[in-house]
Assembly symmetry: D2
Homo-oligomer: 198 residues x 4
């Protein structure tokens, strides 16, 4: 059974929603799926002072934090993170930087990987954030399975060929990306499954 | 039988050498391999005025030019090009820009792709040239199979995880990259073969 | 007097519109401005077969083609191009690849540069196309003056901090970017002017 | 007097050496220079278990940690960091992610910025790490003053046009980059000074 890790970071819940859609589609595609959150590194005092952030931390309290064992377990990985100045959040980078031991043993190679992102502006770094994560993934020896334009649902979702991305305004997500997320998740699972023949 | 297109552009022969090593390893890995050159767009007068360039044009005169049919034919593609200001040569970009018809029919999706590059300076855009090609490949729906650090030979060759790269001085290639090229070619073939299960 | 070259490529006119707005604002900012088109490299037969493309070629027939002398002349440069698979069009890359002689003499260094882009999908490579051009500009020794979020008009235009970008649908531009283009042009002129103190 | 912040992160001292060379040259160029370290986020237990890392923490104990006030103070910034999987270290990203308040007030715009990097492999992400930092800098509204090929000393140092980079082996730095670092620092100061005319 193909194993998919959906690893997300979120302050206010958008990327958890994307992650849950990915999970649903991954399971439909026959994979065993874990939704895993990136460990928070911000001080509690900062989170306490931001009601939306605090509410999301509460909402996500039962979701397990991603561990090195999860990375080793997975055949495929989907990352879902907001942009922070056109790059991944520090929280995710901190976690990635702890994987040197696994990397040195070759345990991170040959996984099928894709990524999703969100930003407040329509062109606020959605493309860059995904691509910068892919750069890191090449160091791991991952096989990148970006969606490209492999399904018409991608056009409705904004047509980001690097990975599904969404713009978040005061009233939530501005694009309807659910179908694109699900297509991406199924594609990542299919590639992960094909790579079991490597 | 897995079909591999090794598409190169070269002024003075470096990338043809890389391409030929890739062909050798691709065939060893059981693939049918075509080495194909990107059509030249520079005026003959410019080429005539540059003896090294002219000599290479003569050397490569029997190598077929890449066509749209070759792209459709291939299960895997390895690109090999020199950097031009941190990006692919105009010649390759011109060819890529003629693929809209194939792209619209979905004929470019799901191929296993990797790339190689050369430059005159050790840090003259080797990384960037490969990564900018991968950005384009995401638009095609390609599956990127960069080498990462999946074999120790990569360290000897300069340790470029995005694809094999070489520095070219007055006396030819400064790094010994043959083994890295061959590893990359075998890996691309293996991923292309695995993707036949998609 | 600060000299600004606005260099564009366009098939159907969008990037000429952006270029003309940039010219208007550049002149308001006190610069001498030239709008210059990138030489077309597509065969006439292809253009003839595409009525919208043919109409634009006719529309732009009196606009001078950019030359190497224009690059040497300029204190600042704004590029405006559509994306082609997340990278600049082959036409622009071909032109850029002819600048080796100027580059070797140091004639391309220290110009203030920014870029604009267009695509058919909202996330169709707008960010990448601009950033890939900046990578090339680093090789020239350019000083990059991207807009960032230095004016509230940028948010209305889609909030692309790398450069103004626009999505083009069947009925033309989907975002109102005129004010953002003008802000970017004025900023590029201001930086070019400041750099005269280098 | 032009104010230059040289902000570095280092585990074993390489990037502190680069930072100190930048300081020396920045002062020669007439700037007031602060060398500032990025706050460490790794647990003490990890550092204690790595003698080389521990020794460097001791060596750097009197160097002040960078603060938000330093960013506001600076007219120019040079970053110097090792690559971590082709991207900046989590420590730097964490610090950058705390600048939202300054950013929202426009206090980060119009600074002259360049960057330097190190890696263990000759092509281990040196280019990417610098370019990913520049992507973030565009969000700040920085003016990027990469060295390009504006001085012959750059060729001796590996010819990285995006910023000085160095390869670190068991016996220290493999390239002689001191002159390139100093050229880059003087250039960044000169651009920062010119930008005071903005």
């Amino acid at each position: 059974m193909t194993k998919l890790a959906v690893i997300y970071y979120s302050m206010t819940g958008t990327n958890l929603k994307l992650a849950n859609w990915a999970k649903e589609a991954g399971e439909e595609a026959g994979a065993e799926v874990k939704v895993l959150k990136v460990p928070e590194t911000a001080p509690s005092s900062v989170i306490e002072g931001n009601p939306a952030w605090k509410a999301h931390v509460e909402e996500a309290k039962d979701i397990p934090e991603v561990t090195l064992e999860d990375l080793e377990w997975a055949d495929g990985i989907i990352f879902s993170v907001p942009t922070r100045y056109g790059n991944v959040p520090g929280q995710l980078k901190q976690f990635i930087d702890t994987t040197g031991g696994l990397w040195a043993k070759g345990k991170l190679a040959n996984k099928a990987v894709s990524a999703m992102s969100s930003a407040q502006n329509p062109h606020g770094g959605q493309e860059q954030t995904i691509l910068q994560l892919y750069t890191t993934m090449y160091h791991w020896g991952a096989i990148i399975a970006a969606p490209g334009y492999t399904d018409p649902v991608l056009f409705e979702a904004g047509g980001n060929p690097y990975g599904t991305s969404v713009t978040v305004g005061e009233n939530g997500m501005k694009e309807n990306v659910e179908a694109a997320v699900k297509h991406q998740a199924k594609r990542t699972v299919a590639v992960a499954k094909a790579l079991s023949h490597l």
